[in-house]
Amino acid sequence: MRWLLSFLLLGLLSVVHAVSSSGNKLLVVLEELADKAKYSKYLADLESRGFKTTIESPKAEKLALFELGERAYEHLLLLPAQSKGLGPNLTPKLLLDFINAGGNILLTLDSAHPTPSGLVSLLLELDIHLPTDRNALVVDHFNFDKLSAAEKHDVVLVPRPDALRPDVKNFFKGDGKGGEVIAFPRGVGQTLGNTSPLLTPILRAPRTAYSYNPKDDVEGVEDPFAVGTQLSLITTMQARNSARFTVIGAAEMLEDAWFDAKVKRSVGMGGVGSDAKEVKTANQAFVKEVTGWTFNEIGVLKVGKIEHHLNEGGAKSNITNPKIYRVKNDVTYNIELSEYSWDHWEPFTPPAGDVVQLEFSMLSPFHRLPLKVATTTKNSTIYTASFKLPDQHGIFNFKVNYKRPFFSNVEEKNTVTVRHFAHDEWPRSWVISGAWPWISGIAVTVTGWVAFVALWLWSKPVPLKLSTSGKKI
C-alpha cells in the first residue's frame, strides 16, 4: 500500500515538473490588465505548457520578487508599461538580485512605450545598449512587410536565425526547412558590448536595417545609432549561475495580432522576393522557442552520476571515486549528462564539431581529453575517458568545464590526491635490463671477495722476518 502511495506521489511530482526544468511559477508584469487580451494566445501557450502565471501590475503593493529572502517566482516576464518607471518593487538592483538567485527574466521592449530608465540602466549594466532616442525603432527599406507597413517600413521581416557558429546548437531554427518569416514590428534594436562573454544574440537585424527615430523630421538619417547586423533584435544573457535573461526588442511580436498575421515581403536587395506571396508569420513558434529557452525548457544540461576509478591493466577496480591515486595510475572517468527538452530529460549529444572535454588539473591542466560516449540510457549519455595520471604528485581535480552559448553551464570539479610511488612499488632492479651490468658487477665483486677470503685463509702466513729485513732497505 505504501509503495503504491509513493508511486502516486512520484507520478504527481512528475506531472508538476513536466514544465520547465527549474519550476513553473511565472510572474507576468503587465500594467493594464486590459492589455491581457492582446497577449491571450501567448499566455495561453505558457499555461498549456504548465506555467502557473501570476499577472501583476508594477504598481501593485503586494508585488514582490522575494518572499522571506527567497525567490517567490522562478521566472519573470516584463511586458512594456505605459508609465515612466517600474516602481519600487522592480528596481534594477532587485532584478539583478533575482538573476543572481537563479531566476530567469524575459524582458520585452516597445518603441511606442519609452523604456523606463531603470531598465535602461539594468541593460547597461549587462553591456546591452539601447538607442539614446527613446522612440527609436528598427526600419528596413528592403525587408519590410508590404501589407502592414507599406509606408513606414517599420515591420521588419527576418528569416529564422542561423546557428551562431557551426559548432553551436541552433534552438531557434524551427523545423529547419527554411522559408519561414518572423515579423519584427516596431521594435527597439540593441547593440552589444564586445567584452561580455555572457551575451549572445538570437536574432540579428538584416544587413539593410537601421535604427531611426520617426519623430525626427529630417529627410535623411544622419549618424544612426546602429546599422545592419550590429543591431541585435533579440539578445540573451546567461549568467554564470545559468540564470537566463532575454531581451525581445518588439513586444508586439508576442501579440495575438502578429501570431496569425499574413505578411508579404518587399523586394529586397538584388530583386530577392519580387515574387513573394502572402505567408503566415512564424512568430508563434519562434516566440515559443525563445520563451522556452529563457524559462529553462530547452538547452538545460544536467550532470548525473560522476564516477572515477582505477583501471590498471584493463581491470576495473571495485572502489569507485577513491580519494587517492598514485602517479602513473591508469584511471577511468565517467560523467552522465542529460539535456532537458520541453518536458523530459534526454541524452545529451554535443553539436557536430563540438566535444565535451575532461581536464585533469592542478592549477593548470595536465591533461585535456575528449570525453567519448560510453553508453546511452533512456535519458542520459554517459561519457568516458581513460588515461594515465601524470608523473606528478599533488592535489588534482577532475574537471569538466563545458560552457557553450545557449547551454546551461556545466562546471564539475572532483578533487583527488595523487601520491608518489611507495618504496615497495618501484620496479625491482632485475626487471630493468639496464641494471643487469651493475647487478653482475656486485655479483662479481662478492664472488671475487669470497675467493679472496678463501685463498687468504688457505695460504700460510709469511713469517715476519722477511719484512723486518725489508724495512732496512
Binding site: 632492479s429 639496464g434 641494471a435 658487477g441 656486485i442 665483486t445 695460504s459 715476519l464 729485513s469 732497505i473
Partner: protein, 152 residues
C-alpha cells in the same frame, strides 16, 4: 748485458723466498740495491722491469694476493663506470650500488693491506693480522648487505 744479468739473477732467489721463505730473506736486498745503482744508465723499460722484480722479491705472498684482488676490483669498477658513461645511468641506484661496491671493497682491502703489512707493525701494534682480517670480513659483509639492498 751486465744489468740484464743482474735483473735475471734474483729470479731464482725470489722463487726461493716463496718456497723456503725463511732462508732467502737475507739475500733479497742485494739485487735490488744493484738495480737502484745501475738505474742511471738503464732504459725506462728496464727500470720498470727492475721495480717489478723488486716488488716480486720483497712483497709477502699475502700482500701480493691483496694486490691482485685490488687490481681485480679496479678493473670491475672501471668497467661499470665505462658502461655508465656509454649506456647512461638509467637505474641510477643500480649504478651507485654496483660501482660503490667495488670502491668500498677496494677501500676495505686497502685498509687490510695497511694493517697486515709487517712494515706498519709499529703503527698497529695492538692490531694483530688476525684481528685485522676479522674486521675486514665484518666490514665487507656490511658493505655487501648495503649494496644488495640498495640495488633493490
Amino acid at each position: 748485458m751486465a744489468p740484464k744479468r743482474n735483473a735475471r739473477e734474483p729470479t731464482p732467489s725470489s722463487v726461493a723466498t716463496t718456497q723456503s721463505s725463511t732462508t732467502a730473506a737475507g739475500s733479497v736486498p742485494i739485487p735490488s740495491k744493484a738495480s737502484y745503482k745501475s738505474s742511471s744508465n738503464q732504459s725506462p723499460q728496464q727500470i720498470a722491469l727492475g721495480i717489478w722484480q723488486n716488488y716480486l722479491d720483497t712483497t709477502p705472498q699475502r700482500t701480493k694476493l691483496i694486490d691482485v684482488f685490488m687490481a681485480f676490483l679496479v678493473v670491475v669498477g672501471g668497467l661499470q663506470f665505462l658502461y655508465c658513461v656509454i649506456a647512461g645511468n638509467y637505474p641510477f641506484n643500480a649504478f651507485l650500488s654496483g660501482f660503490s661496491a667495488t670502491v668500498g671493497q677496494f677501500v676495505l682491502t686497502a685498509s687490510l693491506r695497511i694493517q697486515t703489512n709487517a712494515e706498519n707493525k709499529a703503527d698497529f701494534g695492538e692490531v694483530s693480522p688476525e684481528r685485522a682480517f676479522a674486521d675486514y670480513v665484518f666490514g665487507s659483509l656490511i658493505l655487501h648487505f648495503f649494496c644488495v639492498n640498495f640495488i633493490n
